[in-house]
Amino acid sequence: MTFNRCFCNRCMCQFVPPEVTANLAKAGVETAQISARASNQQRNRRKNKIVNLSTLTPSAKVGHAMRKIYDSQHEWEQRVELVRSEGDPVNSDLVVNKVYDYVGIVRDFFKKVLNRDSIDNSGMDLVLNVHFGQKYLNAFWDGDEMTFGDGDGEIFVGFADSLDVVAHELAHGVTQFTAGLEYKDQSGALNESFSDVFGTAITQFANQETADTADWLIGDEIMGPRLYGEALRSMKEPGTAYSNSLMGKDSQPSHMKDYYSGPKDNGGVHINSGIPNKAFYLTSMDIGTDKAVLIWYTALQRLTPTTDFNTAVAALVDSARLLVREGQVPCGSPQVVRAAFKAVGLPTV
């Protein structure tokens, strides 16, 4: 195989073509963890491993986790009726088909781009419930499966109608099976941020957008007629997503100086997530969302349930260094990640 030269002039590192990276994200991650202590010899072995794997794996596979879509039929219960399983023909219910397609995109992104085999990396079935309850204004991950309400048609419309939302919820499952970040305070804000990161990266991937062309909004597709044009979060400018009498004003900070330290929202998990969200945006604008998400995913596997912001920044920078060494992200990426967090006031001293 051939390696392309890295874009930068500062070093002689190598850049693995994306079609290879696609097959190798997992191998890269596993070796990345070893490579912190790796000698040159190990590094050469790893290069060989990359070549061998790419020879053995003919093409990027799609994920094989089975999709199972249940219709709650407006009851407040999960798994009321199984309406579409993997490979079933299209259903007469457009919401069922949409969520089936969206979760397929998410599954395939994790497989192709990050080489993760479903939520648990072991091909776990993807169970989704739609039409949950009556005019239910929410979507959630309960530890095993995803559940989506239809909204009330005024404030919010169907939560399953948004790839952002589907990817965000599935990503909560991925976080549960990797870092297991506790859903409160800084670890909870990181948990939320990782879900927004995957939500937006997958949406950009599916829409063939780049960091410059994406809107960086979360939840804009689910705003109903009374909130039309608003969004729930902006990763580009946290704190500007909405301002209206129904929801009040977007209170996300974009810098540690405005950090929320009150008790609401489990210690501000959907609030302080604005800070790492903005750092992801800044990183993506510099090296591209596809490279940034690889760094974030690598770091996620190195975090623990009580990781705080400072520890996460260190893990992200370390992951960037490992991926540079792997040739999977451009040289200079660790500095880009550091600068992005410096711009939002992290790490704190």
Binding site: W76, G133, L137, N138, F140, F156, S245, M247, G248
Partner: protein, 106 residues
């Protein structure tokens, strides 16, 4: 009947509340709420042993509901995973009232 309701969290991170003395409401709304409370069997309801975990699961709404009626009073907390289905119609109606109230408040 005095009802104190709050709902926070969710994907949209709503922070809403609704407090009312049903005797101060219109006849129809008052009756509607009294009926919903009755049909939920609020005062007899068996809650899951597991109280809502403070730290999750992700994106669920956390509901707090206190109702005083005659000489009965009960306060409960639950979330989207632990909420008994029988309580759901009451929670949904109170959530709507809380949202209407916040949209009229300025």
């Amino acid at each position: 009947m005095i009802i104190n309701f709050s709902c926070q969290g969710g994907f949209a991170n709503l922070q809403i509340a609704f407090s009312v003395d049903t005797s101060e409401l219109s006849e129809s709304l008052s009756q509607e709420l009294i009926d919903l409370v009755e049909r939920s069997h609020f005062f007899e309801l068996q809650l899951q042993q597991a109280a809502p975990k403070f730290s999750g699961p992700p994106d669920v709404f956390v509901y707090e509901l206190t109702i005083q009626d005659a000489n009965k009073s009960r306060a409960i907390a639950c979330n989207d995973v632990t909420a008994p289905p029988a309580l759901r119609p009451l929670l949904a109606r109170l959530q709507k009232l809380a949202l209407e109230q916040s949209s009229n408040s300025d």
